[in-house]
Amino acid sequence: MFAYIMRRLAVAIPTLLLLIVISFVLMHLAPGGPFSHERELPARVLANLNAKYGLDEPLWRQIVNYVYGIVVHFDFGPSFVYPDRTVNELLADGFPVTLTYGSLAFLAAVLVGVSLGVAAAIRHNSWLDYLAVGISIGAQVLPNFVMAPILVLIFTLWYRILPGGGWSFSDPSFWIMPVVALATSYMASIARITRSSMLEVLGSNHIRTARAKGMPEHRVILRHALKPAMLPVISYLGPVFVSMITGSVVIDLYFSTGGIGKAFVESALNRDYAVMMGVTILIGSLTILFNLVVDILYAWIDPKIRY
């Protein structure tokens, strides 16, 4: 297992390098640049800016310099659009925010989603099943860009009990709406996957055996059914976790949390090359890491899997 993990981590390095090179090239291929404005900058001001940010060097050299900066100084460079800030600072400011509401939303989605799914499966075709399926379909058709304004309308404009946006680490009332809005549709997907996977497991031979030998139903569910039923859920959760903790454009946009979800899209539109690279690398590394975590969890849950 240890050797496997080491091997996977070793492969991660060339993967990340490839990610950097491809993103870098694609980004520079896009028309326009960080300093193209409605009022075109005088050529020499543009030249001064390009010189300041090293954009006057050949592309391969920019990539080498960039990677060198990260490896040697852990320096992701200056932002081109936020001239008083570095990418390190922007990520250090924004990531804790998305990490907070993303993890909370993840926990909420998993807890509620799995419970709903399991409840629906064990009371298959009962009112509870219909209710659970109803809720999850309802939640599914309420994507976060619909949920967010509805929540703001109800809790900010009508009842005035929750702030309509902004962020504070010390005041959880700022967290509630982002978490709920982000969690809802994921929760629905988790409930559906859990339900169908659970139904399949409940119909399998080892469950029949367990029931036949007179094992109490709650033990059958918890010991024998839940674990194998979780496999498809876990493979779904790996990438979901990464996308939740790296934030959502919609959540950041509606609730002005200052998280990095919006930074990704915004930096692409602004051609803020360094910020875009920083976020790409962050998401890329987390994706690689959590794919590995999922694979390890697999091996832990399913004795048939060995590395």
Binding site: V45, N48, Y254, G258, L269
Partner: protein, 534 residues
């Protein structure tokens, strides 16, 4: 010319009255004197010389103060400079500074202005607004930006701590109007050298404005509190100013209506009539110095068809500006038949023939002109309109497509994201494109300069007579007349199809007073505002 400058010389050194909105008699001040202001995007930079955004400027204007300020009508009033003199030839301006202090207690000196202005043009700073110093025509600004001269050679010198002398390359009638722009604000050398780029962080930042930065959570909110060191702190009533970022306009409106935000100066399109009805006087739409137009690509890369004046006239006539303003935008905008915003100070609207016709007459003329130019049902004119991604631009482009269809022109709409739109405009890769221009200062030349042969002028229209008129206007006693003639040439040759003049539909919390609604530049100073008890 001589007359203008002798008059100015006569009033030289006369201290103009200061201005701060004060509660009228009978008005009772509210307990809570805080103001929260909506901003669409995060503050990109709080550094006066590095910023290039209007949103940033709104905050920087509270944190720093330039030589001049604007009053509620947009007129220039003394800021740090108590008075000034202009030399006979109009090339030398001498400013006398008042006893003002930085927020750390240090005196604000002429040297602070010299430092800041040199910093703006220094190639090492790479300021995106370095061109503003060139626009001000300060001696050597261009050469320094080009790296040909040292920043120390800029035509701005500290004669002593309280006297600043600025020399210009040519008489510049709008020079004083540029002095409330954030690029010209003084910055504290000591603090910048101590903290580097981090000098704008709360805690590090030292300013000379009416407020100081207390905290700044990027993309969430920035909180400013009253600066006790400010020279006019005594008359400053608002004690806290918050800039709240809400990236979505509709959510911004919801939060405004929920009472979290006091002032939203850009209401979502189409919401104005409903809000006006529901909130009455809190919802207003004063003019704002920007104009919207469709520009024609007349460069070598542009289509041959557009080089025919009759075609350009037909296209411009066919645009039904009343529909655009009354049915689509519905926010107090005005139909535009010329380029310069109608509310610009000292601007006299030219007589434009098509403005007097009915839309029916315009359509008939348009059809006749197109037929004359050789286009008809068998040989329809085909064009593309380029616009950048935005619901509003899209609505307008679709409307124009329909207007032009009515005269037999087939239009294809090309939508690009902002940066691509810009790139294509700057490289003349378009046929007809939507464009908008916002004035840099409150004088017509800021609009008209755009169409000069050496202006930004992405459509590459060029007219020697027009260039000459603008050059003359720069030193003229009566520039308004010349600007009027220039507009007539511009529209006579239909370098563009003007669409509308902007307004700024906004919501202002009922207890808030002193918002500068008569200032077309929309520059506001929290120090001039206050809240009354309800």
């Amino acid at each position: 010319m001589t007359k203008l400058f002798t008059t100015t010389a006569l009033v030289a050194a006369l201290a103009l009255p200061t201005y701060a909105a004060q509660p009228a008699e009978g008005e009772k001040l509210a307990e809570d004197q805080s103001l929260s202001f909506w901003i669409l995007d995060a503050i990109k930079s709080a550094d006066p010389q590095l910023t290039s955004s209007r949103t940033d400027s709104d905050m920087i204007r509270q944190l720093f103060e330039g030589l001049m300020n604007e009053d509620e009508t947009g007129a220039m009033i003394p800021g740090v400079a108590e008075s000034h003199e202009i030399s006979e030839d109009g090339l030398t301006y001498t400013f006398h500074l008042r006893d003002a202090k930085w927020s750390n207690g240090d005196p604000v000196t002429a040297g602070d202005f010299v430092y800041a202005w040199q910093r703006a043009v220094n190639p090492e700073t790479a300021s995106e607004y370095a061109w503003f110093m060139e626009l001000m025509n300060i001696v050597n600004a261009t050469a320094i930006v080009n790296g040909e001269k040292a920043p120390e050679e800029l035509g701005a010198k500290a004669v002593d701590d309280k006297t600043l002398e600025v020399t210009l390359t040519k008489p510049t009638p709008y020079f004083l109007k540029t002095l409330s722009h954030s690029t010209t604000y003084p910055t504290p050398q000591k603090v910048i050298e101590e903290h580097g780029e981090a000098w704008t962080r709360a805690g590090n930042m030292v300013g000379n404005g009416a407020y100081v930065l207390k905290s700044h959570d990027l993309g969430v909110e920035a909180v400013l509190v009253k600066n006790d060191q400010y020279w006019d702190a005594e008359n400053t009533i608002i004690d806290e100013v918050k800039f709240v970022t809400v990236n979505d306009q509709n959510t911004g409106l919801t939060r405004t209506l929920a009472g979290e935000i006091d002032w939203m100066n850009q209401l979502p399109a189409g919401q104005f009539p409903r809000l006006k009805e529901e909130h009455g006087d809190s919802v207003v739409a004063p003019p704002w110095a920007c104009s919207y137009a469709y520009i024609f690509n007349l460069s070598d890369k542009g289509p041959e068809e557009l080089k025919d004046l009759r075609v350009r006239q037909a296209l411009s006539y066919a645009v039904d500006r009343d529909i655009i303003v009354d049915k689509i935008l519905q926010g107090g905008q005005e139909p535009a038949y010329f380029w310069t915003h109608w509310a610009i100070e000292g601007f006299e609207a030219p007589e434009i023939e098509m403005a007097g016709w009915t839309q029916q007459e315009r359509l008939e003329k348009a059809k006749a002109l197109l037929a004359e130019a050789g286009y008809g049902p068998d040989n329809p004119l085909e064009l593309t309109i380029q616009y950048n991604t935005s619901e509003d631009h899209k609505k307008l482009a679709i409307a124009v497509q329909q207007f032009w269809k009515a005269i037999g022109v087939n239009v294809t709409l090309n939508n690009y994201e902002w940066k691509v739109h810009i790139d294509r405009l700057n490289n003349q890769d378009f046929e007809v494109a939507r464009y908008a221009w916002c004035g840099d200062y409150n004088e017509a030349s800021t609009f008209l300069d755009y169409f000069r042969t050496d202006g930004y002028n992405q459509g590459k229209w060029s007219n020697a007579e027009y260039d000459k008129l603008l050059a003359e206007a720069a030193t003229s006693e009566n520039p308004a007349e010349l600007y009027k003639q220039a507009e007539q040439i511009l529209i006579g040759d239909m370098a563009l199809a003007p669409a509308y003049h902007y307004s700024q539909p906004q919501y202002i919390e009922p207890s808030l007073r002193g918002a500068p609604l008569d200032n077309v530049m929309m520059s506001w100073y929290a120090k001039d505002m206050y809240r009354v008890a309800e």
